[in-house]
């Protein structure tokens, strides 16, 4: 997997590159936004690691220009300014993930893998949560090797949940997104659908977690549920 590291601090870039290469990544390093734009034009990358505090063109400017050109290479921002407001602004501007400096290399590796997997899946129209997969083109769910047969309502709700990994959806949010499909639904109906989905997923390491007051969350139980 090929990464582009955009970082102006030579020491950090040097050590980070060594660590990432040691973990099996190919890393190109450039120290400013112009260099990064040249690299992106010349080569294709699986992921961009971007430092925010760059000379000349700031990371935020680079991000804006990249997104304006319609480039959808996943982008992970590294910054020492980790205030909440900034995090929110970055994600809104199109960054895919965010890491505050300093960070643990293990965590960086996990996030890089997750982002690349997600972007490859999204490119093919495939969403996955553990063994559960949703193929957008075929409009069908598979659990392992088997096709999961679902009612239209169950299908619609599970699709919403799998398309938003790690982000819980409240009953109202589900209703709002389903209203074009189903006009006579109420919150109780959602509860019934969730109950039925749980039954269908009972033997898989997949669960729909209820977070009271927040919403439903689709989760892969990695310890083997």
């Amino acid at each position: 997997m090929k990464l582009l590291l955009v970082e102006d601090d030579e020491d950090l870039a040097e050590w980070l590159t060594q660590s990432l290469v040691g973990r099996g990544f190919q890393v190109d390093w450039t120290e400013d936004g112009r260099g990064a734009e040249a690299s992106i034009a010349a080569d294709s990358y699986d992921l961009i690691l971007l430092d925010l505090g760059l000379p000349q063109m700031t990371g935020a400017e680079f991000l804006a220009r990249l997104k304006a050109r319609g480039n959808d290479t996943p982008l992970l921002v590294m910054t020492a300014r980790d205030s909440l407001a900034q995090r929110v602004a970055l994600l809104r501007d199109g960054a895919d993930d965010f890491m505050g400096k300093p960070f643990a290399i293990e965590e960086l590796e996990v996030r890089i893998h997750a982002l690349i997997r997600r972007s490859h899946g999204r490119a093919r129209g495939v969403y996955a949560c553990g063994p559960l997969c949703f193929d957008q083109a075929g409009q069908r769910f598979t659990l392992g090797d088997e096709v999961l047969s679902l009612s239209p309502r169950e299908h619609a709700v599970l699709r919403l949940l799998i398309q938003r990994p790690g982000d819980p959806l409240s009953k109202t949010q589900i209703l709002d997104r389903l209203v074009s499909v189903e006009s006579d639904m109420n919150p109780e109906a959602i509860e019934v659908i969730i109950h039925r989905l749980r039954k269908r997923l009972a033997h898989a390491p997949i669960q729909i977690v209820t977070l009271r007051g927040i919403g439903y969350l689709l989760e892969h139980d990695e310890d083997g549920g």
Binding site: D82, S83, L84, A85, G100, K101, P102, A104, G166, D167, P168, V209, L211, R212, G213, I214, L217, E219
Partner: protein
């Protein structure tokens, strides 16, 4: 050369007042003068006219028709004294209304239509000189030459130079007196303003003499009442600077201590590592160093958050706005969800749209709740539950975060309760990875937002952290 006035210069107060006052005074003076000229002229006319009327009476008494013709014995002594006082020329004409007989100055202009028995006064010109004429008509009895209903007209005139001169004198005096009053009013104004501003100059001198670090309040007593609000404003500003300065000084002291400690530890670890030969030992030192680095980076973030919290609380009361509490809790929970789910911790929120909103600084409240939730997740055992509750009281809002962890030691609870700062160095802190700053930050923010943080161990285990915040905006508190 630029004619533009220096904006720093400002216009003197007395001149501003004079610009308001002098035109008004001038206007009333001119109006008064016009009115008094009118009445003066009337008064002068009536006085002078009385002499003319007396002269007519005197002439009238000396008219005889006994000779068959018209005879007038002119009262020369009267004319003389008259002329002397009036300081002018006396003219007269005695005639009949049919114009047959004329005695005296026949070139006097003809009188207006007259009524018998009445003296009429009017102004006229005689050889281009202004004159005042009194005319009187009475039936001539017996008439001359047997004529029927013949009337006698007596006209007496004087040149008006003297009464004009009199008027001029009086008016000149009035104008001079008024101008003198105006000048003295302006002078008094300037002097009064100067005297009135003396306390301000004294205040300026007091301020100039102050040492640059003297941030005591100014004493407004003895100053004009109009200036006291200004002094109070300045006092408030000075107070803010003092509080900010003190907070900053304390913060820098605390922070430099906090940041240097892990650096010292790292240095010691490196020194130790350089002495070691065995790769296994070296590896252990490196792992320990990694932990210290993690801790100091969390510490730096939290110190920055603390600094921001204080700064924004002190300086941006304008940032306060209605914040929907349910939305805010939802946002905080989503931020920490991934971390909580890694350890299968359930997060719950007990708040709905009816919880309502708080008038507060959103970023600070977010930071506070975020810190409390972070603590609760860290303290909670795997698979535990952390519950966030928002409950509206009469005039406050209670945001509570409950976890199922070990709670806090009595010692730490007591120290946090007494407002002790930066209770660090590991003892009593629930988790070895905690910097212990989190609760300090939340306390700081709660105070800045005009509320407080209550911490208590729950009987069934775990910590209950409750943020009490006023529903209405309150004044800023010193951090």
């Amino acid at each position: 050369m630029s004619a533009r006035p220096n904006p720093l210069q400002g216009r003197p107060l007395w001149r501003t007042l004079a610009l308001w006052m002098v035109p008004t005074l001038l206007f009333t003076m001119v109006m008064g003068l016009i009115l008094s000229m009118q009445s003066l002229r009337e008064v002068a006319d009536s006085a002078y006219d009385r002499s003319l009327r007396g002269a007519i009476r005197a002439i009238d008494l000396r008219i005889s028709t006994e000779s068959g013709g018209l005879g007038v014995e002119l009262p020369y002594p009267l004319f003389e004294s008259f002329q002397a006082t009036a300081d002018g020329e006396i003219l007269f004409r005695v005639s009949t209304d049919d114009g047959l007989v004329q005695i005296g100055d026949s070139l006097l202009p003809p009188p207006p239509p007259l009524t018998t028995g009445q003296v009429v006064f009017y102004d006229a010109l005689y050889y281009d000189r202004p004159i005042r004429v009194a005319a009187y008509m009475r039936p001539l009895d017996p008439p001359l030459y047997g004529a029927e209903g013949q009337n006698l007209i007596i006209e007496i005139a004087e040149t008006t130079e003297s009464r004009e001169a009199f008027l001029r004198t009086v008016i000149t005096r009035t104008v001079l007196r008024d101008l003198a009053a105006l000048a003295s009013a302006t002078l008094l104004l300037a002097v009064g303003v100067h005297a009135g501003l003396r306390p301000l100059r004294a205040l300026r001198d007091r301020l100039d003499r102050r040492a640059s670090d003297d941030l005591r309040q100014l004493d407004p007593s003895g100053l004009p009442r109009e200036v006291q609000p200004l002094v109070q404003s300045v006092n408030r500003l000075v107070d803010r600077h003092r509080i900010q300065g003190e907070a900053q000084r304390r913060f820098i002291e605390d922070a430099s201590h906090q940041l240097k400690t892990p650096l010292a530890v790292l240095r010691a670890q490196i020194d130790r590592g350089l002495q070691l030969q065995d790769p296994a030992d070296l590896h252990a030192v490196l792992r320990a160093m990694r932990e210290i680095t993690d801790r100091s980076s969390r510490l730096t973030s939290q110190l920055l958050a603390l600094a921001l919290a204080r700064n924004s609380a002190l300086w941006s009361s304008a940032a306060a706005e209605p914040v929907d509490v349910a939305t805010l809790l939802d946002g905080v929970v989503r931020l920490h969800l991934a971390e909580a789910r890694k350890r299968r911790i359930l997060l719950e929120v007990e708040a709905d749209a009816h919880t309502g909103s708080l008038h507060t600084t959103e970023a600070l409240l977010f930071e506070a709740v975020s810190n409390l939730l972070q603590n609760a997740i860290t303290a909670s055992p795997p698979g535990g539950t952390v519950t966030l509750t928002a409950a509206r009281g009469v005039d406050d809002m209670a945001i509570s975060i409950r976890d199922g962890g070990p709670g806090l030691s009595q010692d730490l609870l007591r120290r946090l309760g007494s407002g002790q700062r930066f209770n660090l160095s590991g003892n009593g802190v629930r988790n070895p990875s905690s910097t212990g700053l989190g609760l300090n930050i939340v306390q700081e923010i709660a105070r800045a937002l005009g509320g407080r943080l209550d911490l208590s161990n729950r009987p069934e285990g775990g910590l209950d952290a409750v943020l009490h915040l006023p529903a209405e905006p309150s004044g800023l508190k010193a951090a």
